[in-house]
Symmetry: D2
Subunit: 352 residues, 4 copies
Amino acid sequence: MIIVLKSGTPEVEVQRIADEMKDWGLTPEKIVGTNNIVIGLVGDTQSFDTDQVQDVSHWVDKVLRVSKPFKRVSREFRHGEPSVIEIPTPNGTVTIGETCPIVMVAGPCSVENQEMIVDTAQRVKAAGAAFLRGGAYKPRTSPYAFQGHGESALELLAEARRVSGLGIITEVMDTADLDRLAEVADVVQIGARNMQNFALLKQVGAQSKPVLLKRGMAATLEEWLMAAEYILAAGNPNVILCERGIRTFDRQYTRNTLDLSVIPVLRSLTHLPIMIDPSHGTGWASLVPSMAKAAIAAGTDALMIEVHPNPTKALSDGPQSLTPDQFTQLTQDLATVGEAIGRWPATYSPVA
Amino acid sequence: MIIVLKSGTPEVEVQRIADEMKDWGLTPEKIVGTNNIVIGLVGDTQSFDTDQVQDVSHWVDKVLRVSKPFKRVSREFRHGEPSVIEIPTPNGTVTIGETCPIVMVAGPCSVENQEMIVDTAQRVKAAGAAFLRGGAYKPRTSPYAFQGHGESALELLAEARRVSGLGIITEVMDTADLDRLAEVADVVQIGARNMQNFALLKQVGAQSKPVLLKRGMAATLEEWLMAAEYILAAGNPNVILCERGIRTFDRQYTRNTLDLSVIPVLRSLTHLPIMIDPSHGTGWASLVPSMAKAAIAAGTDALMIEVHPNPTKALSDGPQSLTPDQFTQLTQDLATVGEAIGRWPATYSPVA
Amino acid sequence: MIIVLKSGTPEVEVQRIADEMKDWGLTPEKIVGTNNIVIGLVGDTQSFDTDQVQDVSHWVDKVLRVSKPFKRVSREFRHGEPSVIEIPTPNGTVTIGETCPIVMVAGPCSVENQEMIVDTAQRVKAAGAAFLRGGAYKPRTSPYAFQGHGESALELLAEARRVSGLGIITEVMDTADLDRLAEVADVVQIGARNMQNFALLKQVGAQSKPVLLKRGMAATLEEWLMAAEYILAAGNPNVILCERGIRTFDRQYTRNTLDLSVIPVLRSLTHLPIMIDPSHGTGWASLVPSMAKAAIAAGTDALMIEVHPNPTKALSDGPQSLTPDQFTQLTQDLATVGEAIGRWPATYSPVA
Amino acid sequence: MIIVLKSGTPEVEVQRIADEMKDWGLTPEKIVGTNNIVIGLVGDTQSFDTDQVQDVSHWVDKVLRVSKPFKRVSREFRHGEPSVIEIPTPNGTVTIGETCPIVMVAGPCSVENQEMIVDTAQRVKAAGAAFLRGGAYKPRTSPYAFQGHGESALELLAEARRVSGLGIITEVMDTADLDRLAEVADVVQIGARNMQNFALLKQVGAQSKPVLLKRGMAATLEEWLMAAEYILAAGNPNVILCERGIRTFDRQYTRNTLDLSVIPVLRSLTHLPIMIDPSHGTGWASLVPSMAKAAIAAGTDALMIEVHPNPTKALSDGPQSLTPDQFTQLTQDLATVGEAIGRWPATYSPVA
């Protein structure tokens, strides 16, 4: 950590600050610049907040953290090795990670009835998906909008899982629902709006199912990684980071701005696998194919695509859903790009 | 609701869409423009999502909602009358609303120990505060940062309440904690990160304590009002809206951008009282006085100010906290502006 | 255009507004909804501002434009046909557009001296670039930073053009410099900071060299297209739209957020060709390869990549520049993706 | 300046970087931390870009500037003394600055004809304005919208100046227009869209009329101050900084987000006077009074308010314009707040 002092800080105050830092167990090292004095703090600074240091004196101009605030999610924590998450499903174990073929997740925004969810599961499986997504509990801006069928939808997901053999990814919104939901889900999803619901993060960290952590719509990369750190710190190392678009000033032609640069940036910062959701990330079905192809070219480990048997009749998020036919077509287009970069499932050969 | 069709939509498709709208129980009215056809939908459109309508045909260019999506929080719902929320405290009932004098809320970010919280309560009460704020459960970006003393801090707040007579405002972060917390709190706070934690919104709506609803850091005004609508729809009409700064592109000299224009905008949209938090809204104690004065001049109903007996030693949010002495000085400065606009407690005379 | 009236608008006022619209030469059509009255305006509304209509009465709640504000740049203006821009260079005519192979533009941020610019030109040409970019006039945040060598740099660009045969793309910052600059440049660039320098837009529209129009860092798609409309309206149909990253709330690991969703969105809105600049779009050389590949997969028509023979010694924008060797390697990687989607120059076969 | 090296940087590379810094004329001082090595650079670092230093080695993690990038605009440059700008007008010299009474600027968006501009001038003068604003050249998003009457409008402004005695503030958009415009204008305005039109900044810096510099809609405070630095560096010390709202994610109820926190922040960073424009800052006339009062309470030195004799018929920006009657009423309301804080013209007594 580095303390930059305001120009004109009296020598006696510089000394007082240095002494206080020693009391905190840190070793202060002073650099006298042309205009400012800088104090470098050597020692275990991770347990101190920059805010606390800032407040030691009103002569402090700014406090800069030199080391990253996250630890268990950092690439260094695994000595540069990427995590590969192994997820058992009825159809066999699926692996997600930098060294694995790309994993497809598909399904409707919300589970509406048995026929639609089972039918969708079978269609997306045929097209190559390894996981079925579908909401039992739905975060909706309006209290008057369809909120998901809740517990009964979990049973329908279990049925779709039995019939199709696909793994199930579904969202938890309340600590009170986690146990029931984790009985059905192969991967537990934390939605964008709950990315900093710390009570929920701690709880999914204390159970054993892998967690899909969506990025909050105004979350910085560090906040996102710190949210993942909550889960790892609570004991669960299996977290997949899912970008789903951020909020920006222009929302006329896209609902969110899909930030694909997270792929190379996260790769350098963390060992965790990366998923991209171009359906929420753009909000419009017509934009999904281009962005899905781009995500693969940029190096994503997995894709999440909304598919609904009849988007016009969808109870939620219709405009961003593909039909099963469109999804089948899309996977063929994606295969071309995926094969070009050597990560398409059907043609993948692990690096020796 | 209005459907704008793409130019070139075939007549037969226009008819099909109109027929579908009739099936939904709506009356379609067609306007044929120079380039586009527009269909106005007459009837109860509130139960339909614009997304659903969008998806009726790929010839739909856009769907526009004419009426507001919120209902119980709207100004019209009370025929233009502002809500006045009456909150019993040991020192007497405090009223918050457009027709009342300005209410001051003050206290530390988190409750650290009995001495500090009781001392702060007495100091801010002496300076004119009606409520003590203080966190028992703290949302922190890092899992390694101080998370609040939890349940034991609730007892300290109860003690501070007994000693000072101030009402207590404290944040709930998990549905599992609400009952215990509501025993102590006179006002239950939903923090910015949980503004769209819908499980929590429903639950605070189902209990009787007034709710302070902070704006999410990237929440639009409509999303914020819809979050309040969740609470009213669940049965609790006593919601106070608190602006605490939004996230923008420049975070070098302020941590958030305090959006004071919400004051006149909310006034026209809703009957709910408005509070401004310039401490989180700027992130720096030195900016609090200017922004607090501005908030009063702009017409806020209440202010929330962070005060800590020793900001340098604060376990959280030190840089934005005033000392009790600074807070005492601030209230004197605020009085000047508050009196000028006729809303300062000591000099307030209700409009006949 | 559609006028939404506030609920409770008196009938006499509705009539007055309708009459005023008739005076403006428009035909008002009224739809009486459950809560609101809506007036559709039929006729040539393009010459009216929504603001003007808004101001006709304080009973107007909002005014919505049904048709797009842009005309000449719209896809419809060319009946759905994409523009192909033909640019003569010493090495032959280069074509840029949706039906053409991908065009590579490369070169340094600023022209530093003859050796570096000629050397870079030869290196990027060998790797497959069709154009050399390089700044003679540089927009710099600080007045104390290197501002470009100006007119003398134009001569160096002319020399690099002669030696390499590459076309030249360079930025104009002042109407006073345009004539001299257009003598050397094959494509005139308008930078992000000048996207709404309307005097400059009009002037580049009144000359004949193609224009590369970068997106302003907080420009909406409509504002960007309207800036292009200025150029077309002034007589120059040859505009290339270049995305270079937008400003968002997180700038810690990328300098801008590269918005690749503009590719499919612009494709549906406009006939103009699209270029992506992943160097400015991310700000870091290490992120350029992933984003360049993603841009190709998403369907871009051209790429602009910063290349500097010695980024460490660059007078501007070093951290985002590739070395010539890195650029050569990159084009090989891009070829794999470009071939997969059928748009790589060496292997491109036009659709019959 | 401080260089933070990546963890694991080899000792030989640390030495090489330190040596390179010596070659640049700087004195490197090394601090060896627990995880990272930090090099402090002592000497005249203002002429170096952080980018250049970043690029010295790929082992550099980040480069932090300790001192501010601006110099002449900084508060320190005048040893903490605020600038007071004296502007001669026919009615006498107007002074703008922290130690002066608040200055009111009012007038229409654009100059439409002689009657309206002269009439407006007389009305706003009667209400207490010291300056008339009015656009001769108008920046408009659409090439088809009214672009201002240009040179002939300058003559009308000159006439309004003669008749009313008010000073004139009008915007320059092109270097080619500056000379003519400066003959009429008492203050030359640089609009938000041209805040980083560096050719224009240099030119207004090289003439003698005071400059009103509006903040770009996505400009950071540092970028804004650096734009002012361009003007001061070119020789003109008389710059007024005008906040006019920034672009954020929510534009439904306000067109921009007025950032009043700039007032206390700029006060600590710069000696330059501050003006607030609540008309553009919100985009709606109904929001102007609250925000104008807030700006005064927060400490602004001047206000710019749009006033149009008949906003409904305005050729531009009608919805945000007050009528002269509304402006007269507003100044009375502002007086109450202005007097409370001791800065209202009629009642101002300079601090002894």
